[in-house]
Amino acid sequence: MRKKYLFISFLFFFIFLDITYASTHQMNRTEENNYGVNKKWDMNEERIRYALKTPYVDAREKIYDFSNILTNEEEEELYHLILAYEELTGFSLVFLSDNISYSSDKKNEDYAADFYDYNDFGLENSYYSGVIIFRNTYKADPYYGVYYFGEAQLYYSEERNNILLDSIYNDFRSANYMEGLERLIKDMSNYYKEGKDPYIKHYTLDENGVLIKKYVPPFLLATLLSIILTVIFLGITISKNKMVKKAVVATQYLNKESVSITEKKNQFLHSHVTHYTISTSSGSSFSRGGHSGSSGGGHSGGGRHG
């Protein structure tokens, strides 16, 4: 009896823990529940197709370790870190691990973005603001990335994101996930405290949370251009008042038939050759504009192989 009671208690405790931040439970997307989407996306045929390919999870769990790379203790610790970050920033924070085969980096980004967009993450925020940390344990080419949604995009530019990704590269590569995630969340919190990223201070969000450039009136350019054009106009108009000019040539009195050039000689003196090599730039260009996922919602971020 006592053993039976202990077993039931142990089982109950385990299940309870599992429900709090278990990362493998999935629900069904049906037409009745709008395919599990409670965000403003217009669920057309294409979006329904993408939603049906995306796991439907309980957003309260926050940790979705489909690849089972974290221990229970690590999941608990991570959960507390996530809560602290959410309290500080007001952004949702999600951790996802999965094993997805891919041929392009964009597939990782699309998978993570769809996971965020077609589940109830960030519902309490304007623009569904939040962050998803994605670890793809695909054996042939492991990948990890951090992606930002809504107002989180204004705090984490590509410059900041690159620093964050680089800082956890060794940890993720050596499967030391918890140390990497601790460092990552701590750094993200520090960046949030520093304020919006100055690299994207001229950007804002449109109605779908896509990062777009703000309209900044070009006052300096308008002033300079107006001054230049005004001066040119005044110069032309005032010159019309000045008609008198001393003649320096007598071309109109020349008898053109009388012109005779009796000697023409071109004497070569010396020459020299210079050269330069055209360098082709292979630097990548950063497009500061955001991306849109299949939902139409905007996001930014990037990832690394390893």
Partner: protein
């Protein structure tokens, strides 16, 4: 006729000839209508004092004539060849001024009448934003006068050579490397050419730049001189002889000749004339009278001379600026441009967003 020594007759305003007007008991400039008493004259450096007058140090002399119609005394300076009797308005052609070596060879009679000159003067304001409002008022227009200006016409032969420093640049590419070859040359051009009837005005009373600007005259209408053409107009004889006037013509001919030889150096870049050995020779010169309508306009204590070619109608002069209008339009234009540029940038931003 007795020659009487007189005061220096240069107008302090415009440098024109000043005559004493008995009816006004003042000296009056025949070009700008400025009026001066003897005392006012003494303020200016050109003016003679009573002491100087007593010593008769001035260089200008006046002649007096009798009007053939009314018998009144006409006073004219030594360069005036035709004028008007101040009492009866009759034209007075001072024939002895245009005889001997001062007899013109040719003349182009006036083709444009006074009313055409007045219309051309009024039309100067059109299309010019900053002309003062009272610029073409009647008091300015009535001062328009037709004057035969003395000119020298030169036939000039130019010959000689120039040396030009030049280079030639060739560029080509092999793979990712761009090569530039610069070759340096010395170019020699020798030649000769003729210039016909290059005009230089033979009077110190008229600004050379203005006389240049109303060129050219059409020489097909040059006819042998006759006093009769002067009736109804003013006229001057030359006070700059052919040797002294020639340097202006020489400079223009040499500059044109240099340009022709220089432009023959084709296919080269960065050309500069290193040496110029061009020379001129006067083949002939003629003394002619050419028709010009002139008016002196006074605006804000400054005189502006306007001249119209009495044959072709070319009307020129430096028109004064109304500074208040300049400032007003400058500010208005700046503001309009500023807002238009901001508006265009905003529209482009929205188009970019929509796409």
């Amino acid at each position: 006729m007795a020659r009487k020594k007189a005061l220096d007759n240069k107008c302090p305003n415009c440098g024109g000839i000043v005559l004493f007007q008995p009816s006004l008991k003042k000296f009056k400039c025949k070009y700008c209508d400025g009026e001066f008493s003897l005392e006012e004259f003494s303020k200016y450096t050109n003016a003679s004092s009573v002491k100087n007058n007593n010593k008769e140090m001035d260089e200008t002399s006046y002649d007096t004539y009798t009007c053939s119609d009314c018998g009144a005394e006409i006073v004219a300076d030594s360069e005036t060849a035709a004028t008007f009797c101040l009492y009866c308005g009759n034209t007075a052609i001072l024939k002895n001024k245009l005889s001997g070596r001062f007899a013109p060879d040719y003349i182009i009679p006036f083709k444009k009448e006074k009313k055409e000159a007045i219309e051309a003067f009024k039309a100067l304001s059109k299309g010019r934003l900053f002309v003062p409002k009272d610029f073409s008022n009647e008091s300015n227009i009535e001062k328009i006068r037709g004057i035969y200006i003395p000119f020298w016409l030169y036939d000039v032969f130019v010959n000689g050579s120039i040396e030009v420093d030049a280079n030639r640049v060739n560029t080509w590419r092999v793979g990712d490397t761009v090569y530039t070859k610069t070759s340096y040359y010395k170019l020699y051009r020798t030649g000769n050419m003729h210039f016909f009837k290059v005009p230089v005005d033979g009077s110190t009373h008229f600004d050379n730049a203005i006389m240049n600007t109303i060129e050219p005259f059409s020489y097909e209408e040059l006819i042998p001189y006759n006093h009769g053409y002067l009736a109804g107009f003013f006229a001057e004889k030359y006070d700059v002889n052919e040797q002294d006037a020639f340097p202006d013509a020489k400079t223009r001919c040499l500059e044109t000749a240099k340009d022709i030889l220089y432009n023959d150096c084709v296919g080269f870049q960065a050309k500069t004339v290193a040496k110029n050995n061009l020379q001129t020779k006067v083949e002939s010169n003629k003394y002619v009278l050419l028709p010009v309508w002139m008016v002196n306009v006074k605006y804000k204590d400054k005189l502006y001379l306007f001249a119209m070619n009495g044959q072709t109608g070319e009307f020129i002069g430096d028109i004064p600026l109304d500074k208040k209008k300049v400032v007003f339009y400058a500010i208005l234009l700046f503001l309009v441009l500023f807002f238009v540029i901001i508006l265009i940038s905003f529209v482009l931003y929205w188009i970019g967003r929509a796409s």
